[in-house]
């Protein structure tokens, strides 16, 4: 037998002999590696999620060409496209699509009509469509289900006050572009109804293009954008990687914000794990040393043990991470396999191994200072070392960073949170000493005062376990708060939103339209505006897409969007340049202030327009900006009114507006529906986030239970001796009950204190990851978190108590 084989066998025997703690070590390491892996992989995972989301909608379509909302040209002819780009395209299907009201019996609902030839729809959705003729219609299964429709039912729609009746001939599963509130009809019939003309098969308002695999989408878009036949149209790449990257950053940032706390927890958990794992190490090393071996032998054996644990844990964590992200993807609605970079497994494992390695080096240095006899007898009874000077230094550092700001805000926030946690750790240690002294002086002696409180004061196992519990409490509070924030965020925005309806994409606006709406509809306020969707804002080198870019009379804007501002708005500070007001969060993320300049791209033709920031809106809806460009003369030729905002208390106004304007190819939107739709979209992302956070909480709950069991493992031989001395179950129960209550009370007080500090810094920490939200936990969140934690603690202590009852007394007292 070679020395290596012997050491390997020794390592294996050690693992075999402590199955309980070995399982805890493997389990905890698996969770830790998984958590690090999730944090490292969050960005690439979200990238894939958004990629597959686009892919699932557009399938083989690479480019969509449609009319520009602000352009007068609304009909596209695909003939030249098929002639001039035939060698680059697999197909180009031209559709005529509109949003309009459909009616079934007495009810009306807003839906999208897709129209083309059946084989063109087949290309988009990979499903067989029946041959169609006349006024026949195919509907999605979700549409049919929602409106209780079956084959043969009739649906009508209105065009120029004429009612057209279609009958359903097929119901197909929702897929890609043909999903939700969508129906399909023959384009030839539809065009004839709309325009009274036939043989318009090359015409439509949307072209879906599938490029050959050898053709670069970006190159194709560049070429076609310069083609005079098509450069008036909006040409969009279905999978926009830049946009996907932006969305991924946005979505990953909150998780990474908690990741800072998580990392802290992981370091603490690893440390307490290390204490448990190396509990018997000095004893074994002492024995080997008396036989003439050096500490390398023991380190090799234990290194092999760790190697086995880490290898198994890394393998398990790969499966666990794959399972979690794909389950998360499933909650988001992705049906593709989501991958993550496997090299992250090595990084995550290396982070754990490096930490453990440093712990081993420190232990080795410590052991070199003591004799083999001292090692083999005294380590188990080593006491917590209280570092008062360290506490004072940490407190002074905290005060320093509170008043002196020399680092970036986000980094300073991370430092302050870490320092505040360290201060509270010190406070905990001092509190325990005070409690111990108080109990010693004033309370009569009991198992609790003799064992529990002394253990709390002296045991390094307990000390570290408490710290782990503390950070887990904080993480749980953060996760619960974020979930609650997500739930209520849109209600808060809805309350600020006063506008009820908007008519967008009015390419031929006349002032008479506003009067017409005021006269013909039951409305309370109508205002015209210039609105651009999805414009790009340039903050120096950084680009941000904003959903709504609104320019109109400022007072009218505030009538429709009741936002507060951080300062009184003074438009004069922008001088001759147009002024812009942006959400406060954008100001924090991009570090801009009032008086700073930014530029914006509105469309392919309207780019690099400079603006001066004159104020910030206080709103959690960070996808809207206001500009006064409508009143700047230099831009009068470029921008014209294209939107009308309407307030009305009559819900029927919506369908009336659609009847009147949808066939002009204006978009009539209900702001409530729009917000709901946007909310649903965000909630979809949040479902994945909440799922991952729930996993996080579950993982840490397991770690929490493990840590309480670590206290048990450190104490079990003492408990065995106490049972032999005659302590009964009732006394143990009382002792553990008091111990759990004391721990919970300390956790409650300290965590509450830290929560208020953490709330202050959390939004700033998220700035590091390019995100900002003002997240404040409510008292109900705090109460539910503490109730949840109390339950977990009670469960863990219950299990602890059972373990004491099942102790193998002889075995425990015989060890060493």
């Amino acid at each position: 037998m070679t020395p290596f084989k012997f050491k390997f066998r020794h390592a294996f025997r050690n693992i075999q002999s402590k199955k309980g703690s070995s399982l805890i070590v493997i389990f905890t390491l698996t969770i830790l590696i998984t958590l690090i892996l999730l944090s490292l992989s969050m960005y690439p995972v979200f990238k894939q999620v958004f990629y597959y989301e686009a892919k699932e909608v557009y399938q083989s379509v690479d480019v969509v060409m449609s009319y520009d909302e602000n352009s007068q040209v609304r009909i596209i002819n695909k003939r030249n496209l098929e002639i001039n780009y035939a060698t680059e395209m697999s197909y180009a299907s031209v559709f005529m699509n509109i949003y309009t009201l459909l009616g079934v019996n007495e009810s009306e609902f807003y839906a999208q009509i897709l129209s083309a030839e059946p084989h063109e729809l087949e290309r988009l959705i990979n499903q067989d469509i029946s041959s169609m003729s006349g006024r026949e219609m195919v509907v999605t299964s979700s549409f049919a289900e929602k409106h209780k429709l079956t084959i043969g039912d009739e649906i009508c729609f209105f065009a120029s006050d004429v009612e057209y009746i279609y009958s359903i001939i097929q119901i197909v599963d929702d897929y890609g572009l043909f999903a939700g509130e969508t129906v399909f009809i023959l384009k030839s019939v539809f065009m004839e109804d709309l325009f009274g003309l036939s043989n318009l098969e090359n015409l439509g308002n949307t072209i879906y293009i599938d490029l050959l695999s050898t053709v670069s989408t970006a190159d194709f878009i560049n070429r076609i954008s310069e083609d005079t036949d098509y450069n008036d149209y909006q040409i969009v790449q279905t999978i926009d990687l830049n946009e996907i990257n932006r969305q991924a950053t946005y979505s990953a940032s909150t998780f990474l914000g908690i990741g800072v706390l998580m990392l802290f927890a992981i370091v603490l958990v690893l440390h307490s794990l290390f204490i448990l794992f190396f509990k018997d190490f000095p004893i074994e090393n002492g024995v080997v040393s008396s036989l003439g071996g050096d500490s390398n032998y023991t380190f090799h054996v234990w290194g092999l043990e760790l190697g086995i644990f880490v290898t198994l844990s890394a393998l398990f964590s790969i499966f666990m991470t794959y399972g979690l992200i794909n389950l998360g993807g499933y909650f988001y609605g992705i049906h593709h396999f989501i991958d993550f970079p496997l090299y992250n497994v090595f990084i995550a494992t290396a982070i754990c191994v490096i930490f453990i390695f440093f712990e081993m080096i420190i232990l080795k240095r410590r052991m070199q200072k003591s004799s083999s006899i001292a090692q083999s007898t005294s380590f188990r009874y080593s006491k917590t070392v209280r570092k008062y000077t360290f506490g004072i230094i940490v407190f002074l550092l905290y005060l320093f960073f509170e008043f002196v700001h020399i680092l970036p805000t986000g980094i300073e926030a991370i430092i302050q949170v870490v320092l505040s946690i360290l201060i509270l750790f010190q406070l905990f240690e001092w509190s325990i000493v005070w409690i111990y002294l108080f109990i010693k002086k004033w309370k009569k002696s009991s198992l609790f005062s003799a064992i529990s409180v002394r253990q709390m004061k002296d045991s390094p196992f307990f000390n570290h376990s408490f710290k782990v519990l503390f950070v887990i409490f904080l993480i749980t509070i953060s996760v619960f708060s974020i979930n609650q924030f997500i739930e209520t965020e849109f209600d808060a925005f809805s309350n600020q939103l006063q506008v009820d309806y908007a008519i967008l994409g009015i390419f031929d606006y006349q002032d008479t339209m506003k009067d017409e709406i005021e006269d013909d509809f039951d409305v309370t306020q109508v205002d015209d505006a210039i609105v651009y969707l999805e414009s790009l804002m340039h903050f120096g080198d950084e680009i941000r897409r904003t959903h709504f870019n609104v320019s109109m009379d400022y007072q009218a804007f505030l009538d429709h969007y009741a936002f507060e501002t951080t300062d009184t708005i003074d438009f004069s500070i922008s001088g001759e340049l147009p002024a812009i007001i942006i959400p406060q969060s954008m100001g924090f993320i991009y570090g801009v202030e009032i008086g700073d300049s930014i530029t914006m791209d509105f469309s392919r033709e309207i780019q690099d327009i400079p603006f001066v920031i004159v104020g910030f809106f206080i709103t959690n809806f960070d996808n809207i900006v206001y500009t006064n460009i409508f009143e700047i003369e230099d831009y009068n030729d470029i921008f014209s009114v294209n939107t009308v905002f309407i307030q009305s208390e009559n819900p029927e106004v919506y369908s009336d507006l659609i009847h009147r304007y949808s066939l002009d190819m204006y978009y009539v939107i209900s702001m409530d529906d729009y917000i709901k739709e946007y909310n649903d979209y965000i909630k979809n992302i949040n479902n994945m986030f909440i799922f991952l956070c729930s996993v996080l909480v579950v993982c840490f709950v397991i770690v929490m239970v493990n840590n309480i069991l670590l206290i048990f493992y450190s104490m079990k031989s003492d408990y065995a001796k106490m049972i032999i001395l005659g302590q009964d179950g009732k006394e143990f129960f009382q002792m553990l009950l008091k111990e759990a209550l004391l721990i919970f009370s300390l956790l409650f007080i300290l965590c509450l204190g830290e929560t208020f500090i953490f709330i202050k810094y959390f939004p700033r920490i998220m700035l590091v990851f390019h995100y900002y939200k003002s997240i404040v936990p409510t008292w109900s969140v705090l109460a539910s978190t503490f109730a949840f934690e109390a339950l977990i603690l009670a469960g863990a202590y219950g299990y602890y108590f059972l373990k004491i009852r099942k102790l193998k007394l002889i075995e425990e007292t015989k060890k060493y």
Binding site: M1, F6, H10, G292, S376, E811, K814
Partner: protein
């Protein structure tokens, strides 16, 4: 020939801020073929003397020469080498590794000494009467059996000196006698010098020399013809 020479040996312990002297200038020589028992009341410094003589603890003052070399002048590598090949220990609580079998516990010093002639393990196990228990773990054995395994482990690398710290302190009378007989057998058959700390006056009958300690000083040093 003196295998072990202690001159003016002092040992102090630091407890919190107090210095507690345990050994007060011990002068001692241990010769080849000695079977030396160290006795004395609790706190007299017997175990400390054994640990300092065997190099497990460092002396505060004075010197200890083992097989011609000064402990304090040896590198850690040399100390390990002496422990691997020339001296061995037997402890009151056996100090067996609980996760290794009897066979593996005895194999361990050989692995450390890079001596791979494992056939001797069976021989030594037979010699201490534990050959039938080689696959047992220490916690499956009685105290007497564990101490026999510890003796086998001490013997495996053919040491010149065995340091025994209360080898029968944890055993009943019968097991204690068996252990003492084994030690005597080792001493006689393997020509091993034994230095033993004991509380038990019965054990002294196996010794050729008895050193009595009192308050960290040698009170008497008698050689007996056994």
């Amino acid at each position: 020939m003196a295998l072990l020479v202690a001159s003016n040996l002092k040992k102090n312990y630091q407890v919190e801020n107090r210095t507690i002297p345990v050994l007060h200038g011990i002068n001692l020589e241990i010769h080849e073929q000695d079977f030396c028992g160290i006795v004395g009341p609790s706190g007299s410094g017997k175990t400390t003397l054994l640990y300092v003589l065997s190099g497990l603890e460092q002396a505060s003052e004075g010197s200890v020469k083992i097989l011609g070399n000064e402990w304090s002048e040896m590198s850690s590598f040399q100390i390990q080498d002496v422990r691997k090949r020339q001296i061995s220990f037997i402890f009151q609580f056996y100090n067996l590794l609980p996760n290794l079998t009897v066979y593996e516990n005895i194999q361990l010093p050989m692995i450390l000494a890079k001596d791979f002639d494992f056939s001797r393990i069976e021989e030594v196990l037979k010699w201490v009467g534990m050959d039938e228990y080689k696959d047992y773990f220490p916690n499956q054995l009685s105290g007497g059996m564990q101490q026999r395994v510890a003796i086998a482990r001490a013997l495996i690398n053919r040491p010149q000196i065995i340091f025994a710290d209360e080898p029968t302190g944890n055993l009943d009378q019968k097991s204690g006698s068996e252990v003492m007989n084994l030690l005597k057998k080792i001493h006689l058959e393997h020509n091993v010098t034994v230095l033993m700390v004991t509380h038990n006056p019965d054990n002294l009958k196996y010794c050729s020399r008895t050193i009595k300690l009192l308050d960290g000083r040698i009170q008497s040093d008698d050689s007996v013809q056994v």
